[in-house]
Symmetry: C2
Subunit: 337 residues, 2 copies
């Protein structure tokens, strides 16, 4: 392997494997995305996903007139429990056949030995935002993603922090209202139980069933799935029930953010995910006001709380940046010897 | 400076400056405390504290037949806001004359240039426990100290984590029961407002004024200050009000610990401070049971939750270990060049 050449052209590829699509980017050394590509995940077996990754990468290389040997590494984001050190997917909640699948080994094998790295999708979304999105230039960044559930990630000194068990960043399972309303995992008052889209929709549904008026009344009573975009539309139209519910959600987000600022004193807290992308103006101002009240002044004066900037690119961006970091660490260790 | 010799005898001294006493230890390279010394803080001006530090160190050296040149560094723990990087005390809540006092510079000056380092007392207590106490052998350790207030510290990869503003570890100011009872800093439901000795005594006092029976009835109604030892004594005698109050406190401690395990996935959570030292059996079993329910299984299976082991030595131990770490980093950087 010609490491000198690789160091001159440290292009990397990031792949975000999701339940519905596999999404990839090719990143240059200045954090510029040179190309994007995506494929439907479909059957989602390891073989099918590997095939899609291979095709995606071919597309990215073709589109940019790049050779595979100019790619120094590939970083892959995957949902669900995995071992990032060994590059093994432990299981995949919504995809079949992934029990202890050595994903990075297989990806590397089908791509002429190009090094591959693995981490979970939320961690990589946080890393992407931290280094090339909302947190650009910062060292310590917390990512909070409000969607069906609530995911989180921690970047300290520009690196992902995994903790001892590898599970660090489970912000959704922190308790912010002990004794509060029921939450997932038989808890009460967890961040996820108070701020996920699932929780928001459940609150709206309950009030509607109790007779509250809302633009969402008909779709909810007819059993339609309420997406973040529908919430955002109703919010923008001034729907009182939706406005009130999102304001309450924002308050809980603020409590979470304020507590995390006191604990970790980061440069940036990035808020992302479907709920935030659909209606940042519903969440961000209230969340900041509440967080400011909780945070100790020194920490507050050194932090930015802001919305995510990379949208669909975040996870793949994090993958590409993870690959670059790992290759760099590898090169540094080699030089030390 | 003979660095080769210093590396052969990396003895360090740790000093813990408190509101009532200045406490010091001399530590050998195997984490053995060779000597302890203490002095009353008394007037507490910088000049007086410096004089006491000088005397303490003389005592430590004499007792162990050690020369000052055999000491590679001195680590000092100090209460209140400070700048650890510059070694400057920003202010001291209960001591006069400390506004922006460059403590490490002065300590180094009166000790023939021996390098001195500074951090806050709770951080150093956590570092001491993490590396040489309850967390010995671990990489990632969270310290929670329940006393008049609630202090916290974070050790990641065997190093103190300060965050961007330097204030990281303010566990006492995290919110675990949004909308809950009043807490310090005009908050509601903060860890400090629910688990400090101050909160415990206030709860007991309120119930006694409402007519509850308790062994603490007479001392509380006569305005006596209730210390942790008095709480522990009443608990051991089965005082129902005290038992109930400490059980409730323990539940809140468990909520805090469980949430922190989900966020940071540490090896060890160390519980210390006056309340814990007086009656660990009142807090620890319930806190562990509650934390286990909250923690995600992978993180729980990799963590130990246990009481602090070093008692009064913790802060000074952390100081001595901080000095050793800093000297080591300095030596490594020099070798790299």
């Amino acid at each position: 392997m010609n490491t000198t050449k690789k160091k001159q052209v440290p292009f990397t590829i990031g792949i975000d494997v999701g339940g519905t699509k596999v999404y990839g980017i090719l990143l240059d050394h200045d954090d510029i995305i040179l190309a994007r590509a995506k494929k439907k995940t479909k059957e989602g077996t390891p073989e099918a996903v590997l095939e899609r990754i291979k095709t995606l990468i071919s597309n990215l290389l073709e589109e940019t007139n790049t050779e595979l040997e100019e790619i120094s590494g590939i970083g892959i984001g995957f949902p669900g429990p995995l071992d990032p050190t060994k590059g093994i997917v432990l299981e995949a909640t919504n995809l079949p056949g992934w029990d202890h699948f050595p994903l990075t080994q297989h990806v590397s094998d089908i791509l002429e030995g190009t090094p591959a790295f693995l981490d979970n999708d939320v961690n990589l979304g946080t890393l992407g935002e931290a280094l090339a999105g909302a947190g650009k230039g910062a060292s310590n960044v917390i990512g909070i993603f409000l969607g069906t559930g609530v995911g989180g990630g921690l970047v300290f000194n520009k690196r992902l922090f995994h903790g001892t068990s590898g599970t660090a960043g489970e912000i959704g399972h922190m308790i912010i209202q002990h004794g509060g309303p029921p939450s997932p995992r038989n808890l009460r008052g967890s961040v996820e139980g108070l701020t996920s889209r699932t929780a928001i929709v459940q609150n709206i549904e309950r009030e509607i069933k109790n007779g509250a008026k809302s633009l969402l009344r008909e779709p909810i009573l007819s059993g339609k799935k309420i997406r973040s975009s529908a919430l955002a539309k109703a919010f923008k139209q001034g729907d009182k029930l939706v406005v009130r519910t999102l304001e309450q959600t924002a308050e809980f987000v603020g409590v979470t953010v304020g507590s995390l600022i006191n604990l970790l004193a980061p440069d940036v807290v990035v808020l992302g995910g479907g709920v935030m992308e659909a209606a940042p103006e519903a969440i961000l101002p209230i969340a900041k006001r509440v967080a400011k009240k909780i945070a100790v002044p020194d920490a507050w004066n050194n932090v930015r709380v802001q919305e995510a900037l990379l949208a669909d690119d975040a996870g793949a961006m994090g993958g590409a940046l993870l690959a670059r970091q790992k290759i760099q660490i590898f090169a540094d260790e080699k030089n030390d010897k």
